[in-house]
């Protein structure tokens, strides 16, 4: 047991004797195919002209272009942050395509106008865009490289006044909402990657749930990077008006490529009085190969603003992909009696690195937050939890409970815990618990002596470890997440 930082465990890794296990280790990333589709790509590099071009391609109103340019000019004054517990070669921001889109005549109006090759891609990924297949009651918005290709169940949602569309469409149809809320949670000056995103973001999802409306289905966005040497910079904005409730799911994959690709997204959530937003992510970007070649750099800024009294924002994430993950979905608990939650599973295998956690900023009276973080490190993976709990003088009777557990699966992996706690109100209660454990030979033998294969034994132990987070995910998503963990851990024993 340790409460601060734990490095390279001393225990030996179990021997890899099972041939079945060895065979499955060599399994590759299953979503690594490339879709052969005609692309419209803006030349590599970043300058004001590229930004003007992106804005023009999207036929944006002037306020959007101004905002982008302000962000870009601010970005030029910033330096890439180095405080995260991750290591990578310098990123050449001039070697990235900042806009890539499947070539189509016009923006598709419905699914019948979407390139069938794209629909087949999403089918391969197991994302049914056809509404008749989506009986599970999940409305899907699919983002392919830089543009949103289809949004399902639009009509049904519209009848309730719910807006669920691509960000580009929102800019066209609901500029007043975009103008009011864009950058209100994550300002363009926020941090290096968020600032870059503000300058160049190309698409993403937009959700507005009006007063008192409970969204009747899960809303889901599926992100896919396809084009080579392109970055994906999506921007998601979700607004739950007073008394509204919405649950949103996000998934993502990318082809296997030897080069690293940058994904710098921004997600902003706004919960007004008595509103409730649940945001779930299953992140499965290409993690790179066993030697650490290729993979996505996932540098994401996600933040929710509990702006109204009794508002509630809950983040649940299952992070299994990416070469490097750098993200801290956070809550600003501004409203009195507001509630913030963060439930996280982060898994790093082979050479993956993750530095992830959350920030809970308590401003309102009686605001409460819960943090449950489960880090799993295998192979040479490095996993850091970094979390800030800050209680401002106004936050009388604020409460936080943090639980931070690490599971080590090899003798070459690393787990780190960096908790930051700042309390400025004496009536606050802040609790932090942390554990570190290792899957032991004894546990594995115990389960194998009951007839479980080594793989099943590992999966059972890992699922038990992650149980508190799985139960926060919507049912179908939890099943997917369990499968994904199993696949990501193939060959982790040994």
């Amino acid at each position: 047991m340790s409460d601060t930082e734990v490095r390279h465990s001393e225990l030996p890794a179990p021997e890899l004797s099972n041939p079945e296990l060895r065979k499955r280790i060599d399994d590759e990333y299953r979503w690594g195919f490339v879709t052969d589709i005609e692309q419209e790509v803006v030349p590599k590099g970043l300058n004001e002209d590229v930004i003007r071009l992106i804005s023009a391609k999207k036929a944006e109103p002037a306020f959007m272009l101004d905002w982008r340019l302000q962000a870009y000019r601010h970005w030029l004054t910033l330096r890439e942050p180095t405080w995260a517990s991750v290591h990578h070669a310098p990123i050449d921001y001039q070697a990235i395509h900042y806009y890539a889109a499947p070539k189509t005549r016009t923006q598709p109006k419905d699914l019948s106008e979407v390139d069938p090759e794209l629909l087949r891609t999403y089918e391969k990924l197991g994302i049914p865009l056809q509404e008749r297949e989506a009986l599970a009651g999940v409305a899907v918005d699919a983002v392919f490289d830089s543009v949103s290709v289809a949004t399902t169940f639009k009509d049904k949602l519209e009848s309730l006044g719910i807006i669920f569309c691509s960000f580009s469409e929102a800019v066209q149809k609901h500029p007043e909402l975009v103008r009011q809320y864009l950058g209100s949670v994550v300002p363009y000056t926020d941090n290096y990657f968020a600032t870059l995103n503000s300058a160049v973001f190309t698409d993403g999802s937009f959700v507005y749930v009006p007063k008192g409306v409970r969204c009747p289905m899960e809303l889901s966005t599926y992100f896919r990077i396809n084009a080579k040497n392109s970055g994906q910079f999506e921007r998601t904005l979700i607004i739950a008006d007073e008394g509204a409730t919405v649950s949103y799911l996000e998934g993502c994959t990318a082809p296997m490529r030897d080069e690293n690709q940058l994904h710098a997204a921004v997600v902003e959530l706004v919960a007004l009085k008595d509103a409730r937003i649940k945001y779930s992510t299953v992140q499965n970007w290409y993690p790179g190969d066993r030697e650490g070649r290729g993979g996505i750099y996932n540098f994401v800024t996600k933040r929710g603003d509990c702006r109204g009294d009794r508002s509630h924002i809950s983040w649940t994430q299952v992070e299994t992909g990416s070469a490097i993950t750098w993200k801290y979905p956070s809550c600003i608990l501004r409203g009195d009696d507001s509630v913030g939650e963060f439930y996280s599973i982060a898994l790093t295998n082979h050479r993956q690195q993750a530095d992830t956690g959350t920030k809970m900023i308590h401003i309102g009276r009686n605001s409460r937050s819960t943090i449950v973080s489960k880090g799993i490190s295998a192979g040479f993976g490095s996993n850091a939890y970094r979390g800030l709990v800050k209680v401002l003088p106004t936050a009388a009777n604020a409460r936080n409970h943090t639980q931070c557990d690490s599971l080590l699966m090899s003798d070459r992996c690393a787990a780190h815990t960096f908790p930051y706690i700042e309390v400025k109100n004496p009536s606050a209660t802040v609790e932090h618990e942390a554990t570190t454990s290792k899957i032991g030979d004894d546990q594995l033998f115990y389960l194998r002596s009951r007839g479980l294969s080594a793989e099943d034994a590992v999966n059972l132990i890992v699922n038990g470890f992650c149980k508190e987070v799985f139960k926060e995910l919507p049912m179908e998503f939890a099943v997917e997440a369990q499968k994904l963990l199993a696949v990501s851990l193939e060959g982790a024993v040994g």
Partner: protein, 254 residues
Amino acid sequence: MLEIRNLHVSIGDKPILAGIDLTVRAGEVHAIMGPNGSGKSTLAQVLAGREGYTVTAGSVRYLEQDLLAMAAEQRARAGVFLAFQYPLEIPGVANVQLLRTALNSVRLQRGEPELDALDFLDTVKSKLALLGMDESFLYRAVNEGFSGGEKKRNEILQMAVLEPRLAILDETDSGLDIDALKTVASGVNALKSPQRAFILVTHYQRLLNYIVPDHVHVLAVGRIVRSGDASLALELENRGYGWAIPEAQKETRP
């Protein structure tokens, strides 16, 4: 059912078992007794397929198969069960989940269909009733926060659900008070059958007051030095292990 011939086992360079011969037939109950460090637990672990031991000589046949060539899970699916001396905790995993996964692994091997959640629950409840155990056991995480007695009873429950052909109980009596001992023993007795054999590894005779063995073997310095019927255990109780172990073997480790 089980034929152990001239089994030699070491850990690293250190020999632990030095020529074990033992034949177990279906329906029999064998007790293996011996002082601490005699190799009793090693024998149990080697039979169940624990890695980290080197078999330097000898063979083990189980139901006409070469047991030593099988991985731990293959042995379990073929009907070998080891009740652990120190059962492991699996946090967050409900007992019922482990039991069902384990039973379905074993059933798959036997060519039987997997049980769905409802059929499984029927099966497991009948076993709970047989052992006089409470249903709440099923929904607690595997051995997490269990008392010593509960852990041992949980092993017996797993055994009852998996219905092994050969059950090896490694010091299942250690650390149990008399009531828990009786519960465990009556569970084992309820599972006795002409098709099933038991090997009870124990340090003390008292378990054998409740489970009467057909054969008792005394293990010392890696060998079976004496075999007999149930009366041998009583004699050991009265005269101590020193009596049972020939002088020549007390001093020299093989």
